[in-house]
């Protein structure tokens, strides 16, 4: 007989209400494990909330850093590329053009860096308690979205100040944010697991991010890329994310359907490959870390 105190008594005295777990080598399949991540969504939110609380704590400027970083970068870029080099920005004031690119880019690069390092950064948790490990790289991406939203508010304000039209396309902004975060996760999830075994990832990552930025239309428009190279260029999902984001802000031209289709396909296939790798090594992560 069980005699339980507390409000959970009803559920536990019910004999068949207790879930039964079976632990055996290599037993878990991918479907149920993704379902388990969903069941841990509260933990996911808590971890994202933790990252957010901790990030700007004990800083004099606090959350203003989330805005200062892209705005200061924008100023420098505007002087160098806008004034000195004279990069075309399709009729949009260059500062707006650059800030739009930077916001999506920083969302991506933050998400990529923090998700790739998430397992190693939470080593103590990994070796002391069970939860679906996938929660860590996903949670680390979420707090970047808050910075993105703050930056977006500044950008919209600037846009009004410059007198650039804000249209209905603005409503599609979340789609491009998700596309950028998804692109980061497609790489970050796989890298986070690889980083557990090979710490080389940590050293390669800044280089990868820099290289990737040069291959994305952040400081220049994608129209600068020769027509012949456009199909290859479009395989970089950040091309779709950045150009799509600019389209949703400035509303120039038709909906970039083909670009979006390519980017989405690349991101989804990347996510699948990354997930399969992650889940195949997940059970050994705690032993190796």
């Amino acid at each position: 007989m069980l005699s339980m105190a507390g409000p959970s008594a009803n559920t536990l005295t019910e004999p068949d209400s207790k879930p039964i777990f079976l632990i055996r080598p290599g037993s878990s399949r991918i479907g149920p494990r993704l379902a388990e991540v969903w069941r841990h969504r509260e933990l996911l939110l808590f971890l994202a909330w933790r990252d957010l609380r901790v990030r700007y704590r004990q800083t004099a400027l606090g959350v203003a850093w989330a805005i200062l970083q892209p705005v200061l970068t924008m100023l420098i870029l505007s002087i160098i590329f806008g004034r000195l080099v004279g990069v075309p920005s399709g009729g949009i004031p260059y500062p707006l053009f650059a800030l739009a690119g930077l916001l999506v880019w920083q969302l991506f690069s933050f998400a990529l860096t923090s998700s790739a390092g998430s397992l190693v950064a939470n080593e103590r948790l990994m070796t002391k308690i069970y939860f679906p490990r996938l929660v860590l790289p996903i949670a680390s991406v979420l707090s970047g979205l808050v910075d993105f939203a703050l930056g977006l508010a500044i950008l919209s304000g600037l846009q009004i100040a410059y007198g650039v039209h804000l249209g209905w396309q603005l409503l599609t902004v979340p789609l491009f944010a998700v596309l950028a975060a998804g692109a980061a996760l497609a790489v970050g999830i796989g890298l986070s697991a690889l980083n557990v075994r090979y710490r080389d990832v940590k050293h390669a990552l800044p280089f990868l991010a820099q290289f990737w930025m040069l291959c994305s239309p952040v400081v220049y428009p994608s129209s600068l890329i020769p027509q012949a190279w456009q199909p290859v260029y479009a395989l970089n999902p950040m091309v779709g994310a950045v150009e799509g984001f600019r389209w949703s802000l400035f509303g120039q031209g038709p909906v970039p359907w083909s670009l979006l289709a390519v980017s989405t396909t690349v991101v989804v296939s990347g996510l699948v490959i990354s997930l399969v790798y992650f889940l195949s090594v997940e059970s050994t992560l705690a032993d190796v870390i």
Partner: protein, 445 residues
Amino acid sequence: MPRVALRARDLGKQYRLGRHEDGYVTLRDAVMRRLARVRHATAPATPASKPRRPTTLWALDGVSFEVAEGEAVGIIGRNGAGKSTLLKILSRITEPTRGEVELRGRVGALLEVGMGFHPELTGGENIHLMGAILGMKRTEIRRKFDAIVDFSGVEDFLDTQVKHYSSGMFMRLAFAVAAHLEPDILLVDEVLAVGDASFQRKCLTKMEEVGSQGRTVLFISHNLPALTRLCTRAILLDRGRLVLDGPAHEVVAAYLRSGLGTTAAREWPDLASAPGNDKVRLCAVRVRNADGDAAAAVDIRRRVALEVDFEVLQEGHRLVPNLHVFNEEGVCAFVTSEVDSPWHLRARPRGRYVTRAIIPGNFLAEGTYIVTALISTMDPVAVHVQERDAVAFQVIDSLEGDSARGDYGGPFPGAVRPLFKWETVVSPLSVGSDPAPKPTASLDS
């Protein structure tokens, strides 16, 4: 007949012993190994450059057992016996290499107090975070929040960042959260090794409460007295194998007898890693029989000396060596400190000290005793050295008729077994008017 809460069948966990101590390899190693393998394939005659070391280790090997609902089971064994590996498998942190476990109900694991706490967050924030990490729902955390705060006793510091907490407050808060997790099966690893004595008592009480609520508890501890008190049953692991499974006090006693566990003398030849701090370090703790030899078994009729050997590194402290002696049921038989000594409360100069507590013969009962050695200062109270279960010894009655047993050989209860002096008065049976008989000797003679 209680139902089975946990059933482990033929559990095995194999670890690869990597080249790096810390377990991870760099990409270069992996690439070089691949290349080496290719070279080997083309030139198989290459002699092995190094003698081959075993590259794998079975941390757990063929372990099978069942635990009934509501049972509290202690897991004991030396370091490296596989205790933690077993709990890691049961808590799903790591997967077994072979075998399987069936678990009925929600599993809660507490493998380290304070894990998941973030120093930059406040106490209140950490309660929410750690609750979520331990698997509580948000509504559940909110419901238990006050109880957790109450238990922890840090209500005045809820809005203070945890990094400003004293280690005691930190531990209390962390344990409070964990203690309010209400799993069906609770796995606990050596949590009681931390915190001060009053906090440990609180934890133990809470653990006993958990056990009495019908939850299943699996408990690893080197604190054998606590383990015997909390657990009805114990499992002894040695080099990954289950070697003994039975009533806790029997398994603990067998463990101590077998020499797998604590011994009669323990020495720390390397001062830097010895228990202690920059003021004092423990060099050795020994059990000596009446002949002065280190001995794991002593005669119940003869005295036994518990020796504390320590080095004072910083002069001027009034250091008091003291010993806590527990029997195999986990009851503290007595505490003794160096009161009756010329060094009592005198500031000690630097040097090596050997001090002995002499326990008289015909005082302890038969059985196993486990000794915790401490070195403290009293004003203010601070513990500089605390070595749990430092040594153990057995008190044996050879049944020669001159101990407190007399000629009786059966079970003999009692926490102590003194040989008292009995006084007898005999009065002749006379029919008459004699006054009440007077004792022949007065008590203070």
